[in-house]
Symmetry: D2
Subunit: 348 residues, 4 copies
C-alpha cells in the first residue's frame, strides 16, 4: 500500500521514513515538503539526522504538500502546526486518510485523538467528521508526546479505579523539540523548567483520550490534571512522575496487577507496529530510565515503575516512553495499521 | 576564630574548605578524617576535586575525628551518616559546637534543623538539648539539600497563607551524591527516577523546618507532602517543581508580592555568608535554571519562578538552588555565623 | 557449543552475555565470577546495566573462576587485569580455549593479539604457545579498545602504502572504563585529557597487530606511533583522529579507494558476528560520530571519514567504532568464531 | 572612557557586556546591532543568555552599526563575518579604534592579530595600516579561539627552542559556535569531528601570531601545523592536544621551566584584565580540564599540562583555556587596555 509523508524533510518526517523502512504493508511512495524543497531528490533536500537513509526513499523527488501532486491514499503528516491546519484539511477533503502529529485538529470534537490500545473506539468519530465536514477522507490525530506516556500508564488504572485527580511532572527529551530544536547551550548541565504550551496540552489531551464515546461524540474524562513540564539533557524518552487520586482507592498489589496484566484493545494485537505488550511494569525501584528503556518494544512499549503509596492522593508512579516513536511517528503508523485492519481506512 | 572540619577529605569537606577560604571570622585550623588519612598532609590525603586547594589548608596534618585530637570550639561535620551519629555526639559532649550535614540527628526532637532565614528561632532547642543530654556543646543540623530549596521557597507563602498540601517533584544534581557518587554510565543522556531514602526525608524535614517552636519543642507544620525525587545530568543545582494548596488561597499577585518581598529573619542580614536576598523571584517564564542560576548570591540565594495557578491545588511554581552551597556546606556556615552573632555559639 | 564467561558479573561480562543471546553456535552454559558471587543465581549476583538479562542465563548458578568448576571448552574472559594473568593461564593449561579482553597476555610473543579481518594469520601463534608452554588449550587476546579502531582503519592503508609515522588523538567513551567507572562529576561538561596507561598500550598494540608473522613469531610493524588519549562525555564509541606518513604517499583518491574496497581476511566473511563490511567509509565531512555511527554493523563495523591531506605527514582522517562491542566482547566472539570455523579451536 | 559594542545582542556581544561590567577604565556607553534591533531598549532587543544583564546597559537604546550613530572612540566588534568586513572598515575609516573578533581582517598583512602577552609588538602594524589605508582609526584583531590556546602554550617554547612542526587535535566547547549554535541533538553523548573552516584558521593564525615583525610587516613563523578540530559536549573551554618538534630538542625539565616561568610581554602586567599569570602549568597528570580550569585567572589564564616526551616529535602536552573569555571578548578587551596603556589607542 502506497503512503505519502507530508513534511518529509524535518525530524518527524525522517522518523516516519525510518520506521516505515521494510514495513510489511506500507511503502513510502511519495515525500512532500515546502516549495523550497520541491523538485529536489529527497536525499539532497534533507539533512538526514539518524541512521541510514533508505535507498528507495533517497531517490524520490520531493513534491509540494498539495493533494494534486500526491496520489497515495494514506498520508502521514509531520507538518508543523503553522501549516498543518490548512494542508491536512485539504488532503482530507481530497479523499485521503491523514494521520497527523500536529496539534491543530486534536481537540476538534469530530477528530479522533487516538492511542490504539487505549481508545480505538474513538475512531468512530471519523463517521461524524466525514458527515459533518463533507470530507471523502479524514483526519486521525495522535497526542502530544508526553500526554501519550501519561495516558497509556493511566489508562488501565482509570478503567479499573476511576482517576479523579492527577498531578504530573515531566522530564522531556530534546528530540521532542525537533531539529535543530533545543540549543546545546540551553541544556548541557541544565534543566529548563518550561516548554511552551505543553502543560495545557497535557491536561486537556489526557482528558479527551481517556474520555468515553457517546452518541458520536467524546465525553472527556472528568479527572482534573495539573502538569509541570520540564526539558532535560536526554536524547530520547520522556519521563513522567504521576500522583493519582481515584474514585476507589486500590491497594498497591491491585494496582500492580492491573498494570502488569493490561493488554489494551484486542484489535491492536498482532498489528505490525504493535509491541508484544503496550506496558512494561518494573518491580525494581530505579526504573524506568529513558536511556535504558526507551527502545523497549522497538520504542512502542511504555514502561511503568516505582509504584508506591502517595501521601496526598492514592498512588504515585513513573511512566516513560520513546517520544519520537510511540509519542509521534510510531503512534501514527499504528493508528494507520488499525484503520486498515478494521476496514476503516476508507481506501480501497 | 579557629574551626575544624570533620570528614575533611570528602566532597562536602572540600566544599567547606573552599567556602571558608578568606572567611572574615573563621579560619580552618584543623582537618580531621578517617584513621587511613590521619597523620598525612591534607594535600596528600585528599583528591581535590574543584578549584584550587587553599595553601594554608594544604599543609595541615590530618587528625582523627576525636575531640582529644581536635581543639577548635566550632566544628563543621561533613561526615557520612554511618559514622556521624557517634562522632558528632562525642564532640558535642566534649563541649564543641557541631554544625552537621548528616541526617542522623536532624529529626531528634531536641536538635535544631535550621535554615537561618526560615527558622532561626529553632536554635533555642540547643538549651533543651544541653539540658537533656548533659552536653557542654551541642549539635545544629541543616536539612537535606532538596528539602532546603523547597522549604525556602515555601516558607514565606506558608507564613502568609498556611500551606495545607504540597506536591513536589525534584530534579537533583549529581553533586548531591558526593564523589565518586553517580557513575557517568547511569546519568549521561538519562534520568534516574529514584534517590534512596530521599522522598521520606523531603517530606518530614520540611514539616520540621516550617514547624513552630512551642515550650522548648518544635511542633511540625501540619501540611502533608508528597515527593517525587529524580536524578538528572546536572552538575550543581537542585530544581523542585511544587504544587501547593493553602488554607487561604492567594491570588497570583499576592503570592508574587510575598515571594518578592521576603527577607527572612532579620538577625541573618549582613552575616558574612548571607546573600543580599535569600530568594530571587523570576518573572520570565523559563527560569530558574540550574546552570544559569545556581551561583546566584554566591550559591546562597534560592531562585523561584514560573508562578502560576494550579488546576488541582492553588499555586504551582519552581524553586532551584545550589545543593552543595546553600543545601550543604554554605548552610552550615551560615548557621555557625548566626550562632556566633547571637551569642549562642556557647564558645568564648 | 557450550561456552563459559569468566568475570561474568562485570560490565564486559554482561556485554558478552548480551551479544551471545541467540548466537547460532555458542550457548552461555556457565558463568564464573569471584568467590563473593559464587553460589548465587546469576540474576542475584549482578546488577544488570543495559537491556534485559536473557532468561536462560538469569537462572544459572555462578561458579568460581576455576577450571575444575567450569567444563565449557570455550571460555570468554572478561576478567580484570589484576586476576586475569593467573586465571586465564590456569584455564589454558587445563585445555580450554580462552578468549581474553585483558591486557596481561597481549604483548607476550607467543600469544596472538587479533582483529580477525586484520591479522587472522597471527592465530598460528597458538601452535608456538602450546608447544612452548605445554598448554593443552590456549589464549587468544583482542586489543585495547581504542587500538582496535585505529588499527582497523590503518590496516588497509598500511598494507597498500606502508605506514611510517602515526599521530593519533582519541576521544574515548565512558563505557570503556567499565562500571561504575568514570564518576559523573568528572565528565559532565568536561574532557579528561588522560587515561592511565592507555597511550603506551595504543602505541605498542598497533605495532604488534599490524606486524607480520615470520617463523612462528610476530615481527612488529616498524611504524612509530604517538598517541594522545582523552575521555569525553560519550556513552559508547571511541573516536580517533589520525595523521599518517607513508612509505609511498597515496593520493586522496587512492586512499579512499583502498578504504572503500577493503574487506579484510576472507575467512572471516559470513561468520555470525562478522559485519557486512568491516569498514564504512564516509564521504560527508562531519562523520563518523559516535552516537550516530557506533552501532553500524551491529557495533562491529568501524567507520572512517574526513579523509584529507595532512600538512605535516600525508593523510589525516577519523576512525570511530563501538568500544564495548568491536573493541571488546564482540571482537572476542568473532575471534572464537574464526577459530571454530578454521578448525583451530582445538576443541572437539 | 566610553566604548561601544557592535553586534551587541549576540552571544559574543553579551560576553563583552558581562566582562566590561565594573571595568575601571571602560564604560559601555553604546550598543549597536542590526536594523531589526535598532531603536529598541537593549533589554528588549536581546535574549540575555548567562548571568544578569547589567542595569546601566539594559536601558541603553540600540543603534545601528553606523559610525554616524555611534560616537565612542573605542569600539568592540562582535559582528559576524558576513557583515564585519564592511562595518569594521567604516568605523576605522571614521577614526575609531576597532577591536575585532571576526576573521575578516585577521590575515590582512597590515592588521595586527594579537595576543598581548605573546606578540604585543605586532601592534606597530597599526602605523602601516593607517598609512596604507588612510584610516584615522584602525583595526586590531584577536585570533580564532582554539588558535589562541595553542599559540599561548606554544609561544614560550617556540621562543626558547624554535618550533618546527606542530600536530594538534582540539576538543572545542559548544559556546564557541555562538547561540543558538550547536543543536543539542548533535552533541549530547556525541563528538562532531568537524568544525567548518576551523583547521585552516588554526594553522595560518598560529603562524602569524608567532611570527616576527620586520620593517612594518609580520614574517610568519616557519613551523608547519596540522590540525584536527572536534566539537565536544562541553559548555566552555577549548582543549588542545599538541605534539611539537623543535629546532633544538629541550628536555622535559627545560620545557617545564620555560612554561612555569613565562610571563609574556611586560607591558601587559597589571592591566585590568591581565591575569596574574598568562599560563598555569600543571604537574598532575590529568589536568587541565575545561570544567575545572577554564575560569582560572577569571578566564584569562591558559592552563597547560601533561608535558611528556613525544615518540615522533619532541614534546607533547595539553593546553586549555576559556574560549569566550581569553579566546574572544576578554582577549579583545586586553588588547584595548594595552593600546590605551601604551598610548597607541590613538584616541584622545
Amino acid at each position: 500500500m502506497r503512503v505519502a509523508i507530508l513534511g518529509a524533510t524535518g525530524a518527524v518526517g525522517q522518523t516516519f521514513i525510518r520506521l516505515l523502512a521494510g514495513h510489511p504493508w506500507f511503502r513510502v511512495a511519495e515525500v512532500a515538503a515546502s516549495e523550497r524543497s520541491a523538485g529536489k531528490r529527497y536525499a539532497d533536500a534533507t539533512r538526514w539526522i539518524e541512521g541510514d537513509l533508505p535507498a528507495d526513499v533517497a531517490g524520490l523527488t520531493v513534491t509540494t504538500c498539495d493533494p494534486r501532486a500526491v496520489s497515495s491514499p494514506i498520508v502521514f503528516s509531520a507538518l508543523d502546526s503553522e501549516v498543518a491546519g490548512e494542508v491536512e484539511g485539504t488532503f482530507a477533503a481530497a479523499g485521503r486518510l491523514v494521520l497527523s502529529n500536529a496539534k491543530n485538529y486534536r481537540m476538534e470534537p469530530d477528530v479522533p485523538l487516538v492511542i490504539p490500545e487505549v481508545n480505538a473506539a474513538h475512531l468512530a468519530l471519523l463517521d461524524t467528521q466525514r458527515a459533518r465536514r463533507g470530507w471523502a477522507g479524514g483526519i486521525v490525530t495522535n497526542a502530544n508526546c508526553a500526554a501519550t506516556m501519561a495516558a497509556m500508564a493511566l489508562a488501565p488504572l482509570h478503567e479499573a479505579f476511576g482517576a479523579r485527580r492527577v498531578f504530573l511532572a515531566t522530564m522531556q527529551a530534546v528530540s521532542g523539540a525537533g531539529y535543530p530544536g533545543v540549543p546545546s547551550l540551553d541544556i548541557l548541565g541544565n534543566v529548563i523548567p518550561y516548554i511552551g504550551d505543553e502543560e495545557p496540552k497535557l491536561e486537556r489531551e489526557m482528558q479527551k483520550m481517556l474520555g468515553r464515546l457517546n452518541e458520536g461524540a467524546v465525553v472527556p474524562a472528568s479527572f482534573a490534571v495539573s502538569a509541570h513540564a520540564n526539558r532535560v539533557a536526554v536524547e530520547n524518552g520522556h519521563t513522567v512522575c504521576l500522583s493519582v487520586e481515584f474514585d476507589r482507592a486500590p491497594s498497591l498489589e491491585e494496582a500492580a496487577q492491573v498494570l502488569r496484566g493490561w493488554r489494551g484493545a484486542s484489535a491492536v494485537r498482532g498489528l505490525p507496529s504493535a509491541p508484544d505488550r503496550p506496558l512494561h511494569f518494573f518491580e525494581s525501584d530505579d526504573r524506568p530510565q529513558p536511556r535504558r528503556d526507551a527502545l523497549r518494544g522497538r520504542g512502542m512499549t511504555v514502561s511503568v515503575g516505582r509504584l508506591r503509596v502517595d501521601p496526598l492522593f492514592h498512588l504515585k508512579f513513573v511512566a516513560m516512553g520513546h517520544n519520537t516513536i510511540r509519542g509521534a511517528a510510531g503512534g501514527s503508523i499504528l493508528n494507520a495499521e488499525l484503520l486498515v485492519a478494521t476496514g476503516r481506512a476508507g481506501v480501497a
